[in-house]
């Protein structure tokens, strides 16, 4: 499904990684490992198409993501360091709008169910500026519940989350993999998904 061949990426004059090749099939999960500054986020942003690789290619279903563009975006979901939620909007509005941007029209009821599963019961209508850092992250992560994307790209999904929420994210990833989804992620916290082999790619 996803094939990365001979990828090289640099920021400014600094070469982050080169000759990176791996592939990912439905039902597989891959962790990107490396110290701070080794290019984990750059790799994920390259997979999103934000950064142009110096060399190499990223192939999705047999075609380069550069050419697929919107067809690729319809099948992937990216969750970065930034939560992409608006302080002025309520959790519910935020979720409906971000689902809308990713091409899914969400009914209020479905959004409520997703937010409640993320442990935000009673906070659905509050403007997100009054929520805590972890709760805001939960609002952002609620997108995982309402998305129908196959390929999840998660950049440090566990930051600011408490133990309960980390368990929930592991559960969600497990469900996604069981439905033949694909996940690539970075984290500095341990993340265990039952029933699947965790593949890794190391950047040095």
């Amino acid at each position: 499904m996803l094939e990365v061949s001979n990828l090289a990426c640099s920021r400014g004059d600094h070469r982050l990684f080169s000759g990176l090749s791996f592939n990912l099939q439905p039902g597989q999960i891959m962790q990107v490992q490396g110290v701070n500054g080794s290019g984990k986020t750059s790799l994920l942003r390259t997979l999103c198409g934000f950064l142009r690789p110096d060399e190499g290619d990223i192939i999705w279903r047999g075609e380069s993501i550069r050419e697929l563009d919107e067809d690729y975006y319809a099948e992937m979901l990216y969750l970065g360091h930034l939560n992409a939620i608006k302080d002025e909007l309520s959790a519910l509005e935020n979720l409906c709008i971000s689902a809308g941007l990713s091409g899914v029209e969400l009914e209020e009821k479905e959004a409520m169910i997703a937010l409640r599963r993320m442990g935000l019961r009673g906070r659905e209508m509050l403007p997100t500026k009054v929520l805590s850092q972890g709760q805001r992250r939960r609002v952002a992560l609620a997108r995982l519940l309402v998305s129908d994307a196959t390929f999840w790209i998660l950049d440090e999904p566990l930051t600011a989350l408490d133990v309960g929420a980390v368990g929930l994210i592991q559960e969600l990833i497990g469900e996604h993999l069981a439905q033949q989804g694909m996940v690539i992620f970075t984290t500095h916290q341990p993340l265990h998904v039952a029933g699947t082999e965790m593949r890794t790619v190391s950047l040095s």
């Binding site: 999103c48 198409g49 934000f50 950064l51 142009r52 919107e70 067809d71 975006y73 319809a74 992937m76 979901l77 990216y78 970065g80 360091h81 930034l82 939560n83 992409a84 939620i85 608006k86 302080d87 002025e88 909007l89 509005e93 709008i97 971000s98 809308g100 941007l101 990713s102 091409g103 899914v104 029209e105 969400l106 009914e107 479905e110 309402v146 129908d148």
Partner: protein, 227 residues
């Protein structure tokens, strides 16, 4: 859950930006108050000579509208850029140009349309005739969307730069000169009894050109800014 079409997405972006503008009303009001202030300073500064005021009215109103529309441009993409929403917009399964067009439309409704509605009231300070006011409104109605669209290109190019606000004005203002010339020219023409058709047609043509090209150019500029 159902898939959304291109038009749904356009409407979603417009609605979202309008809701956000309504929750941050101060931003909208600053633009409008700035416009009113600048225009009102001229009769006070130049003196109450009606002939001169009438003559300079179209120019003053247009220049003030131009400057006022610059004020809110800096915020067009920067808030979305800082909180990560812009990343998500780029990953939308529809063309980024369409989303950009939505943002331009919302920007115009929030910062251009109020100027158009305010202009006739301000025009009275300059003793403009009813006909001239009508042409002024018509011109602004055609011209202010062009200002929003040209401004969006500048806003996208200066995204994330320090001191981008001044640079933005320097980039965009020269591009707005044709709009200023034809917009103010139309009012001058009707005041001296000439036909306004040519001026307004040219403004209309500029509007169509801008509608076709600026969303695409802005989308490209945004992609460059994100790298």
């Amino acid at each position: 859950m159902k898939k959304s079409s291109m038009l749904d997405l356009l409407l979603l972006v417009i609605r979202r930006d309008l809701i956000l503008a309504m929750r941050r009303r101060a931003d909208v009001l600053t633009t409008l108050v700035f416009f009113v202030m600048v225009v009102s300073l001229f009769p006070l500064g130049v003196g109450p000579e009606l002939g001169m005021l009438r003559k300079m009215a179209p120019g003053v109103l247009w220049v003030a509208a131009l400057l006022a529309s610059m004020l809110s441009l800096g915020r067009l993409f920067s808030a979305d850029y800082l909180d990560g929403t812009l990343e998500q917009m780029m990953l939308a399964p529809q063309s980024l140009s369409m989303l950009v067009l939505g943002k331009m439309a919302a920007h115009w409704m929030v910062s251009g349309l109020p100027l158009v509605l305010m202009a006739p009231v301000l025009g009275l300070q300059f003793d403009m005739s009813v006909q001239a006011l009508g042409v002024l409104i018509l011109g602004l109605l055609l011209g202010t969307p062009i200002l929003s669209m040209l401004g969006a290109i500048g806003a996208a190019l200066t995204l994330g730069l320090r001191g981008g606000g001044v640079l933005l004005s320097l980039l965009v203002l020269p591009l707005c000169i044709p709009v200023l010339i034809f917009g103010a020219g139309a009012v001058d023409a009707i005041s001296s009894g000439l036909s306004i058709v040519s001026h307004l047609s040219l403004l209309g043509a500029l509007l169509v050109l801008a509608l076709v090209f600026t969303p695409w150019v802005t989308a490209q500029a945004l992609r460059i800014s994100m790298e």
